[in-house]
Amino acid sequence: MLTNKGKKRSTKTKKNSSKKVVSFASVEGNNDLLTTILLLLSPKPLFRCKLVCKRWQSLISDPKFASFWRLKTPSLGGLFVNRFWRKDNTSFKYFYISFTDNGLIHSLKGLQNPYGEGVVILNSCGGLLLCRTMKKERTINPICKYYVSNPTTNQFIALPEITYYILTQHRYGDAADFLHMTLAFDYSVSSHFKVIHVCSDRRPRAENFEIGIYSSETNLWKHLTCQISNSAVSRVDFNNGVFVNRAIFWPAYKSETSIYFDLDTESLHPYPMPSKRREAMYFGSLKDRLYYIRSKKGSRLDVFELEKDYSSWCCKYKIYEFPEMNFSQINFLTLISGDENRYLVICTQPAGMVLSINLDDSSYTNLCKLLLRPSDIKELSETCGSAVHYLSENPFWIGSRLDI
């Protein structure tokens, strides 16, 4: 056993080495340890932790933290499905199918709406929704208001009005018809979001585009004019823009090409569409890639992926009909991810069954059954997927108070 002398000596040695080790008192006092724990939380608890104190807030707000958290935390989020529609264009209601809760359906009385008027979801990106409201009493020339909301944290930010001259040219039109807005948000790049709008010129072969860029950093709209010479521009669907890889891609129907807007260079460029004939059943992004889904003879779905250099599309997955799922009567479909896998979520008539199909191994899960009315089904088939919005939960963004 140890002699006193030996003991003393070893204590001394320890003293020398302990200089290397920073003393610790608690989990709270140790940033690395605290970060390790916070990285294990799901979106809502993580958001609560952001309100604990300023230090926790800055730890969680760090974009590096966000990208680590995304890798670690599978958050499937949910799907907003447009429920009904009235001719006055102002009343929308939504089903919310939560994938996190294994397909539990929440019937939303109304999305969080700062203005108390009819609200419609225009766009979903990175856990945020871009919404529009319209005042009912002015049906001829309704006033549109736009706001961005984060349903996970229940926050929203109102966009300032667009006041510049182009609106005067369209004074007698319905702003919703010519103002096409797309949300751009990537927390791993910046905690600020942008909204891009395009004023489409309905003349064939139009070359000039008025583009507005709103940044939540400045809370201002910036305006620019972009030129592009492309015969396809009259067929571009500016209502269904998709943000992916720092660019907004719009689909074009019955056209071999379409255009995208590069947010870094603030310029428009052409890119190909996979098919000239068929309309897309889905046009959206997943994990930094753009996807396009079309049906083949009503019994197969082809999932196309845009190459990284935007030069061409490749057919990445082919999904065949199976007894539980009839592809000739699809209400809506969308792609989702959240963990390592990619899923196709699909809802078919007449039963309204919602299934999730794992694209990599073709296994499927019954999620839920949606009670859709004939008017819903008609609407879904006409809107071609734009009435369905996938939302991944995002605990990070914190908005400022709304000035109405």
């Binding site: 320890k14 008192a25 989990v27 709270e28 939380l41 229940n154």
Partner: protein, 163 residues
């Protein structure tokens, strides 16, 4: 220093915060990156760990022993042991987590962090503050803004104690 060897096995003494001594085989402490480096570099036979409570040290040594006995056949048993291991009052769990982090016992650290995360995930903002003894440094205006904008963050589980 020859006295620190009995037979083939090397013996090491760990000294907890309250001067209590724990004598154990050196091979056990090699699971800790920190102690492993100390033992290898400096050939110490007694390591004082003044910042770790003896109670916490007892728990950790218990884990080290169990983990050393882990074989493919008693995997289930070990899993149950792990579950029981973190089934302690929250304050004790935090002490263990901090100590494990300090000692750099990697497998156990991950498990402890997950246990802490599971314990705080349903707690309200207030409860989390109490658990970690944090005073809010937001201004009263900011604080009331949070409460107004996100009342549900302040609801949740108010119990800040054990479970």
């Amino acid at each position: 220093m020859a006295s620190s060897t009995t037979g083939e096995k090397k013996i090491l003494t760990l000294k907890g915060g309250d001067n209590e001594e724990f004598i154990l085989e050196e091979s056990l402490v090699l699971q800790s990156e920190l102690l492993k480096n100390m033992v290898k570099e400096e050939r110490v036979s007694s390591i004082p760990l003044p910042s770790i409570k003896s109670k916490t040290l007892v728990k950790i040594i218990e884990y080290l022993k169990k983990h050393a006995e882990l074989t493919p056949s008693n995997k289930e048993e070990f899993k149950n042991f792990e579950k029981e291991f973190v089934n302690v009052v929250l304050e004790e769990l935090l002490d263990i987590t901090v100590a494990v982090n300090y000692l750099k016992i990697n497998g156990l650290l991950e498990f402890c962090c997950q246990a802490v995360a599971d314990r705080i995930k349903d707690k309200s903002v207030e409860a989390v503050r109490k658990i970690f003894r944090i005073e809010s440094d937001f201004t009263p205006e900011e604080e009331s803004e949070f409460r107004k904008e996100t009342p549900e963050a302040f609801e949740g589980d108010l119990d800040d104690t054990t479970n």
